[in-house]
Amino acid sequence: MRIICYSETVSPITHMAGVVGNEAIIKREQLASGQWVPSITGNALRHRCVRETGARYLVDALGLSGELSLPQLAFLFNGGSLTESTGREDTKKIADLQRLFPLLRLLGGSLPDQILSGTLIATSGLLVCEENRSRLSGLLPDEWSLPVDRLRDAEAMVGTYQYVRGVPTKTCPDLVRGEDELDARGAGKDGKSQQMIFSGQCVNPGAAFVHGFLAPSSTALDIGCLLHSLALWQQAGGTVGGSAAKGHGRLSTYVHCDQPIYGCVERYQEHVEQCKQECVDWLTAAFAKKKAA
């Protein structure tokens, strides 16, 4: 299965790589030509588009909200960790997991005593720009083609943002205790202003990224799970990167699948509904404390 997504940015994308001085710098990928082009990592897309939304759906559908242990929460939402010193390969447990949880068959994860490999490959988000033309043509499906005219250069789509964190004691002075009073500029006892200006780079709204998901040997349930997770991610705002609470990182995504997808999502939802109790039992058993010998 090969799903290709065309994601238009509808708000500034702030998928950051780090900080230089006081400015946050966006994640860039170096091309063979030596140029650095903004990108979104496959790891981030895999987590935000599939794992987080898919796991949240499972928790709600299985009625596990407020019932999970920390290892179960970590297993579902970030893949979990191998915590036991004695590793095992319990083939029945793996087979049951693959039958019950298409999401985890795609993404894999780590139980306390064994690592389960996944099948999903999430490609990184390629910015639709002239520098990426050859890479884009390799990724796009046959039905989609790049315009013959020159695409915009990557740097033309990079902008900046700046915010100011205000001083609440200045805006609400009546709520401040006497010893914490600040002067008119919002400065504390040390005379320094508490106000903070922060800024960084972003990919401007109106740009677009192409990214994809490849899952060899996938079933209709796998496709249904993946598409369902993508739909939930879009419904929740379709965000990637940081500052989503400020409205950043929103993507509007169009999906192309190279296999028939009719009814796949419904089949996945039915599957989860039908196997509800089995799924809960499996999760409970997989994370049950081992009895002392």
Partner: protein, 213 residues
């Protein structure tokens, strides 16, 4: 068996190192057979892949060169993980404990990853082209962190070539070989302690070897 040049045309940067082709093929052919450091290594004769092999002393070595990666720009990427505390409300009331983010299994991390911007990786082998293509067709990516999209292979090509460069390209060493079996006059090698037959990571395969440098 013919002299072949196998090329992986990459659609994404390569993370970590490219694999030995014999190891990759054996892995693909035995995906559901487990192997572990704690268990004895499988017999060397096991592993049915369409590459020629020869005994060199105690080692049954495949006629396959190490991966050849051309000059390329390099960078460092990072991958991160942290405990999903933003979903703490999903925890059972009696499981809402303090999470250590600096140690234990809940430790957050931001780990570096060596990235190479190569457009192709090449191996020289002696083997059978058609079955080789069939196995390689099932290989979507190579290197580390392939689930993040690194090392994505857009296509594999297998071409016949005139020379056999699987072990030596003229007098230059092309793959790890046992030190004791190194012919005179070979250049481009250094001594090492490691494996020259798959599984390359298994301690029982370790011996005195020479590797290309």
């Amino acid at each position: 068996m013919r002299n072949l040049k196998v090329t992986a045309h990459l659609a994404a940067p390569l993370a970590g190192d490219a694999p030995q082709l014999d190891a990759l093929l054996i892995y693909k052919q035995s995906l559901h057979h487990n192997c572990d450091r704690a268990w004895p290594a499988p017999r060397q004769e096991k592993g049915c892949i369409p590459l020629a092999r020869e005994w060199l002393g105690d080692w049954y070595v495949f006629r396959s060169s190490s991966p050849v990666v051309g000059p390329c720009s390099e960078s460092v990427d990072h991958y991160t993980r942290r405990t999903p505390v933003e979903h703490a409300s999903l925890l059972a009331a009696n499981k809402r404990t303090v999470v250590a983010t600096g140690n234990s299994w809940t430790k957050s991390y931001r780990l570096p990853l060596r990235i190479r911007n190569v457009d192709r990786v090449v191996w020289f082998v002696v083997g059978e082209g058609s079955p080789l293509r069939k196995i390689l067709k099932r290989t979507a990516s190579i290197g580390k962190k392939t689930s993040f999209g690194y090392g994505l292979v857009s296509r594999w090509t297998v071409e016949e070539v005139e020379h056999d460069w699987s072990w030596f390209a003229d007098a230059v060493l092309m793959r790890p070989l046992p030190l004791a079996s190194l012919p005179d006059g070979i250049i481009g090698w250094r001594r090492d302690f490691g494996a020259c037959v798959p599984p390359y990571w298994h301690p029982e395969r370790y011996t005195e070897i020479v590797t290309p440098c």
